[in-house]
């Protein structure tokens, strides 16, 4: 081999030049980082100014108003709690059904979007579709579906599913791209069919991660289910917005506290399930 420098043989000058080169490159990197940070800060400041964040006059009434609202909402009024069972159940079932529907559709779409499964001429449009699903907010999907199928939890389910497909499909594709092909090859070498490779090698590899993102998405959808309620998709969200419209701030606060409790509960359950999926052994 030529060009290999052994430490003993290298002349002192060559070593010095090499070290100087390293220092120069480091200085260059530092300068570039400084420029990038400056530009970044300017961009953030401009955005804040444009959005009115830096206008002190706008804040003059803010704190008293918020305090007034809080006082009006105290103490929270739980007296109508018997009527909340249905909307609570509605929100919960919306989140479950929306996540499940989204996942069911995201699986095949994710497989088509995975770069190691489908050719690019299929993958690219599918990825575009998933991006579109993701970039349309759940609220907009909600308005669309309320118009299409009427009020109630059903448009909420469809809205949650539509937005979830985008995110879950993207994750499905990534999970499939990271499947280790070696166990599948081992199965093929002993004569197992394509379907068998999917079932015995791909499926056990993707299942825990799939459940992980599904549970995570379910937590997200529970919060989102409240927001779509606002546009007429029923559930707890509708109750909250109605309470606000009737100036029943004390009841609104109580409802928000109930929602907070529910979300925390689901988050705890989700963290428990995910922890088990990641750490515990999978037994069939």
């Amino acid at each position: 081999m030529t060009g290999v420098i052994t430490p003993h043989a290298a002349p002192a000058t060559a070593t010095r030049v090499a070290v100087e080169g390293v220092l120069a490159a480091s200085r260059h990197r530092h300068r570039r980082r400084l420029v990038q940070t400056t530009f970044g800060l300017i961009a953030v400041l401009f955005a804040c100014g444009y959005a009115g964040v830096l206008d002190p006059a706008r804040y003059a009434d803010a704190i008293p108003t918020i305090l007034q609202l809080l006082t009006d909402a105290m103490p929270p009024d739980f007296s109508r709690w018997r009527d909340w069972g249905r909307p609570l159940l509605e929100t919960l079932s919306m989140s479950v059904a929306g996540t499940a529907l989204g996942l069911a559709l995201a699986l095949p779409l994710g497989a088509l979007a995975a770069r190691n499964i489908a050719p690019n001429w299929i993958g690219s449009p599918v990825r575009l579709l998933l991006n579109t699903c993701r970039s349309i907010p759940t609220l907009v999907w909600g308005i669309l579906y309320v118009a299409a199928v009427g009020f109630g939890p059903l448009p909420g389910v469809l809205a949650l599913a539509s937005h979830s497909i985008g995110m879950l499909g993207k994750f499905c594709a990534e999970i499939l791209e990271h499947v280790d092909p070696a166990p599948g090859d081992a199965l093929r070498s002993q004569g197992v069919s394509r379907l068998g490779v999917l079932r015995f090698s791909v499926w056990p590899q993707i299942l825990p991660r799939l459940m992980d993102v599904a549970v995570y998405r379910w937590e997200h959808n529970l919060r989102a289910a409240t927001t779509v309620g606002v546009v007429g998709a029923g559930g707890l969200g509708l109750e909250i917005i109605t309470a606000f419209h009737l100036f029943e701030y004390r009841e609104a606060l109580a409802l928000i506290l109930v929602l907070l409790g529910l979300v925390s509960l689901i988050n705890l359950a989700g963290a428990f399930v995910r922890g088990r999926l990641i750490n515990a052994g999978m037994r069939e």
């Binding site: 280790d180 070696a182 166990p183 090859d185 081992a186 199965l187 093929r188 070498s189 002993q190 004569g191 197992v192 069919s193 379907l195 068998g196 999917l198 079932r199 015995f200 090698s201 056990p204 590899q205 825990p208 052994g281 999978m282 037994r283 069939e284």
Partner: protein, 267 residues
């Protein structure tokens, strides 16, 4: 067994390879390799790293399709025929170099995968009890029964390798392929598993092809040694004749410093 065997032509062939060529990317790995694998014997493949030993194993189990040449299975026909390939794979088991286990599954579930062709992919039922018993038995044979429910990613390198061996043995194959099956196993266990392979050959009459880098183990196990160099067969004969001269033909000089087969050649 144990008697010096005659030339390969006198033994019953199991697999015939003729002028096999395999490309890996732009590189030609196997350059017209011809080889006959004898039935009921242990053939050990040796050669410097990168010479195409693993590629050859892939050709033997049908995972790699040669661009030229033909592999034919005795009594069945050419491997390019889908029906022959299916039947060949049914009776073949491979121990893979990188173990090819599913990390998230237990040792037992990984061994059960060796019998995946006996369970319908869409069956919602658990693995049948007799298959589970056989898988546990296979783990016992490689000394891993105490780790039966441990996830594969919690096992050590040697333990993973033994799971890979159990997954191959559980198939009761008539052709057993092993790509460096003992590379991470300690010497005592290597000896025991080597003896197990030998007794499978003498008892059940199965055919074994192993890629090995430890020349001493190769000489002890092999009925026949095949040395690869430059994508072709450079040596083919009983282990007794694999002397220093033969070894230097297979391992070019610069390889000797790393693999030191010459130092172990004195017998």
């Amino acid at each position: 067994m144990g008697v010096v065997q005659g030339p390969a032509q006198q033994t019953r062939p199991s697999l015939l390879l003729r002028d096999i060529q395999v490309h890996r990317g732009r590189q030609t790995v196997l350059k017209g390799l011809s080889l006959t694998i004898a039935t009921g014997a242990i053939t050990v493949i040796v050669g410097p790293s990168g010479v195409g030993k693993s590629t050859l194993m892939g050709v033997l189990n049908g995972l790699i399709r040669p661009v030229a040449g033909e592999v034919s299975v005795a009594g069945l026909g050419p491997l390019s025929d889908p029906g022959v390939l299916r039947e060949h794979r049914r009776r073949t088991a491979t121990v893979f170099q990188e173990h090819a286990l599913i990390d998230r599954l237990t040792a037992l579930d990984n061994v059960l995968l060796g019998m995946a062709d006996r369970r319908h992919p869409l069956s919602p039922l658990p693995w049948p009890a007799d298959l589970q018993r056989r898988a546990a038995q296979a783990l016992l044979e490689v000394g891993l029964l105490h780790r039966v429910n441990a996830r594969a990613d919690t096992l050590s390198g040697g333990e993973r390798q033994r799971v890979g061996i159990a997954r191959a043995l559980v198939r009761n194959p008539s052709l057993l392929l092993g790509d460096e099956p003992f590379s991470a196993v300690d010497p005592a266990l290597t000896r025991r598993l080597g003896d197990e392979f030998k007794s499978l050959v003498s008892g059940a009459g199965i055919t074994v092809v192993l890629v090995l880098h430890q020349i001493d183990i190769a000489r002890r196990l092999a009925d026949r040694i095949v040395g690869l160099a430059d994508g072709r067969v450079a040596f083919d004969g009983p282990p007794e004749t694999f002397d220093t001269a033969a070894q230097s033909r297979v391992f070019p000089r610069h390889e000797l410093q790393h693999d030191s087969p010459a130092s172990q050649s004195t017998s």
